[in-house]
Subunit: 511 residues, 2 copies
């Protein structure tokens, strides 16, 4: 479903084969890259099928990226075909002027886009995507991978810690993680999935393939705004949606902004899968009241999106809300198709004890781990040192085996020989009513080697002084963990909303 558009699976299959057939006739084949800069539209779903069915590799581009980053990706991925949504034409054009790549260009004009002009002339060099697809053969004998370990997709990391790397995923992993989602989400056949998670983000966590495996309904959505989300939730009996915590805020904003309008009611419980950050207690409570069950996932592009789930125990339902939130903040246990998940000491490669306090690095091994980084053997080798994929995330293991992230390895602060988790400090500061966003990094300290410094954004209508926050931390943290400085500033983020701590460090070095 997309706006007024309705396709059944036969039509979807036909269109995907037509796309594959047309790519094939353009000379696109095994190992070639087809890049897609698309919103969550039927065209994006088709690309997730038609591109692999031509033997090619799908490169989904984050539509919020700047032209320079996109140009870098097009060149690095050696893009042969670029499908662009008309909404993103300008940025794409700018990227193409910067790039050396000279791909075939297809323009997707979505009637659901508010800038859509029926019959408008195509920009020079572009072919209409729909016309292109419609010329394809519905009976095209599409290509299965020669080897199931062959690449199906390439996704570029958002570069919180440096240059973007091209994460190459294989068919086998995508197949298994797509099935793993069904297990994790308890999705019955004919489930209804609302596309609030961008499909460009880790291929929508493999959900483009998951939903089809259970004959589910894909509900496309160009833009995650409160009204269309609630309209879809209620009109189509949506059973599951995914997104970063910000999507929960968008959903809940309806209730907040219109105090005289009651919370929209859901006819049945809706599952919400979130990742990127533990869902805060207050958000959990409000989501529950609105009819959602929130599940916390964790993963990285290198493990196809989510590969760890905060598997909920029924008996936890009766605990106080605060304890439930604390349990839900843990990343959890491995996805069914992931063979091994552990927290290891990277120097000895021994698992840390299940004591909830010893830090180690989260590592993955098995079918749902990437092939490697494209054209980057050194980074690949480092990432796979000692036979495990090193996530770079630091965590503890609890006595029940659930893992909990404590920090990125680069974000740990070493003060007087003691490891300080910047996340722990951030968690404390997030509980202060005035704090909206916080990022804690290390600042060089003559006495202790390093000390924590906190960058803070306050809520629009609230303020707090450094002294106020300092005493707040003193009440809630060990003394050596209290930030030495508090800086009130706009915190730099990636286009996907991830906080860029390295930018903060760059700022500190300049000072």
């Amino acid at each position: 479903m997309h706006g007024q558009q309705r396709w059944n699976y036969q039509q979807f299959y036909d269109r995907s084969r037509q796309l594959a057939s047309q790519l094939h006739h353009q000379g696109i084949g095994r190992g070639d890259t087809v890049s897609a800069m698309l919103a969550n539209t039927p065209a994006m779903l088709e690309c997730h099928y038609g591109v692999p069915m031509s033997g090619a590799v799908l490169h989904s581009i984050n539509t919020r990226l700047d032209a320079t980053t996109i140009a870098y990706q097009l060149d690095h991925a050696e893009t042969k075909v670029l499908v662009v949504d008309a909404e993103f034409l300008e940025v794409a054009q700018e990227a193409l002027t910067q790039a050396n790549a000279d791909p075939k260009l297809l323009l997707y004009c979505d009637p659901e886009w508010k800038g859509f002009k029926p019959g408008a002339a195509l920009p020079a060099g572009y072919e209409d995507y729909n016309a292109f697809v419609e010329l394809g053969q519905k009976d095209f004998n599409w290509l299965q991978p020669v080897d199931e370990w062959d690449a199906i997709s390439i996704n570029y990391t958002s570069g919180t810690t440096g240059n973007p790397k091209g994460v190459v995923c294989h068919h086998r992993g995508a197949y298994l993680l797509a099935l793993g989602n069904v297990f994790t989400a308890d999705m019955p056949k004919h489930s209804v999935y609302l596309w609030t998670l961008p499909m460009f983000h880790c291929n929508g966590w493999c959900f483009p393939w998951t939903i089809s495996a259970i004959y589910g309904t894909h509900i496309c959505l160009r833009q995650v705004r409160p009204e269309p989300v609630w309209a879809a939730l209620n009109e189509h009996n949506v059973t599951l949606l995914c997104g970063a915590p910000v999507v929960m805020d968008i959903i809940l904003s309806v209730c907040e902004e219109n105090a005289d309008i009651p919370t929209p009611s859901l006819a049945h419980r809706v599952e919400f899968f979130t990742a990127a950050a533990p869902p805060p207690e207050r958000t959990l409570a409000r989501m529950k009241n609105a009819g959602f069950n929130v599940t916390h996932l964790y993963g990285l592009a290198e493990v196809y999106g989510p590969a760890v789930v905060n598997e909920w125990h029924r008996e936890w339902d009766t605990l106080p809300a605060g304890e439930q939130a604390a349990l839900k903040a843990r990343q959890g246990v491995r996805y069914l198709p992931l063979e091994s998940l552990d927290v290891l000491d990277p120097s000895t490669m021994k698992p840390v004890p299940c004591d909830g306090t010893t830090l180690g690095e989260v590592m993955f091994r098995g079918n749902v781990v990437m092939k490697g980084y494209f054209k980057n053997p050194q980074a690949t080798e480092e990432a796979f040192k000692d036979g495990w994929f090193h996530s770079g995330d630091l965590a503890v293991k609890h006595p029940d085996g659930y893992i909990q992230l404590k920090d990125r390895s680069k974000d740990i602060i070493i003060s007087g020989g003691e490891n300080i988790s910047s996340i722990e400090i951030e968690e404390v500061l997030y509980k202060h009513p005035a704090v909206a966003v916080v990022a804690v990094v290390a600042i060089p300290d003559d006495k202790w080697g390093e000390a924590p410094i906190a960058f803070v954004e306050c809520h629009n209508d609230k303020t707090a002084s450094a002294e106020e926050l300092r005493s707040w931390c003193r009440e809630n943290l060990a003394g050596f963990k209290v930030p030495k400085h508090f800086v009130f500033t706009q915190i730099p983020r990636t286009p996907t909303g991830k906080i860029q701590k390295y930018q903060l460090r760059v700022q500190l070095k300049k000072q």
Copy 2:
């Protein structure tokens, strides 16, 4: 759960590792056969884990078989260890006297068995299974398969068409079919499964592994009788059970035999998966009234049990009961993890048209197809001719792609150059109120080459004359399909209840 026994997954895992460790210390390793002649008990579940975890191959023995057949299997499978349930000791002993194999012997004494005598002396040569397991190490570093295509199990065909063949299944297929069951059954996590399907039958269709994948509850059951089945259904909120149509009869017999007792009520809808024969319309209606939803599956040992499902369309719910039964009688579409299912002309290997009438052979290809027949390269080669597994079952394809069995290839009757489906005639005769069981085979005919002959068992309280059945067939069948003879007799069956048409043919040849 087993009677009063309760184990959680930690205990189950510990026990499985202990079993694996003990087998390992007995010198059992990769490729060795461990045979299990067990009822649906915790020991049988443990064997489904502990045996593969030692690197060995599990050989589940049909506990209803005669000693000679079991002896054949023990020798052919080269059994190194035999686990016997005390209930089946006598037959096992007899088999061992006939066999050349000289396995290590373990006796499982189940307190739920009515012949159980606590502290009874063990028969000579046997070790107590539980004592054996308890000596094992809980931290045993169990063996993963070297190659995922390595054997996990061997199951002997029931031999309706000749000598039993040892169907060897691999880890990869078992893993994928186990997951496929979850998709087919829409099983949420923590489902409750009642063991009415024998685990010796195609390894319980892989459900020993399926249920654990969703943290489900295994409810063991020694014997499929109405009272314990209904007790389990109601006490444990069972969500799914499986079995041949005879299990439905057993369930429904409670309502029938006690006319003054109302049908036991179920608190929620229970899924029932059946295979081996299409569920009759009357049974479907009665199961529905009792609170069950019946799904029709189809498969063979060579495809890990069920690999085809009569996937139900929601809009069919509103059709008249007769039409629903006719739709449900079709075998259906492929299981999710099965790559290819088709009905092909075995001479040209071309798919038959989707016209619902053209007969072809059902063939399978993909991950959930066996490795081959143990020590039988010729049968393996024949079965895999032209790259497809030949099922020997004849079927048509309907316009919607659903397949429907018409006969075993050996059971087709060729009369005057026309193919006659023995199943079609049987279906007509089953609708006659007096007919309980019927089997139609070919009898040589001077004029037509072959003609159909029907062997009939009537219900205890009913009778019908040959003339009556003949006119019944004339009303409902084309003239050339009406059986030439009707024989009222006890119909021979395998220990699993399958009708042995070849025995009937042997009888005919002797006459």
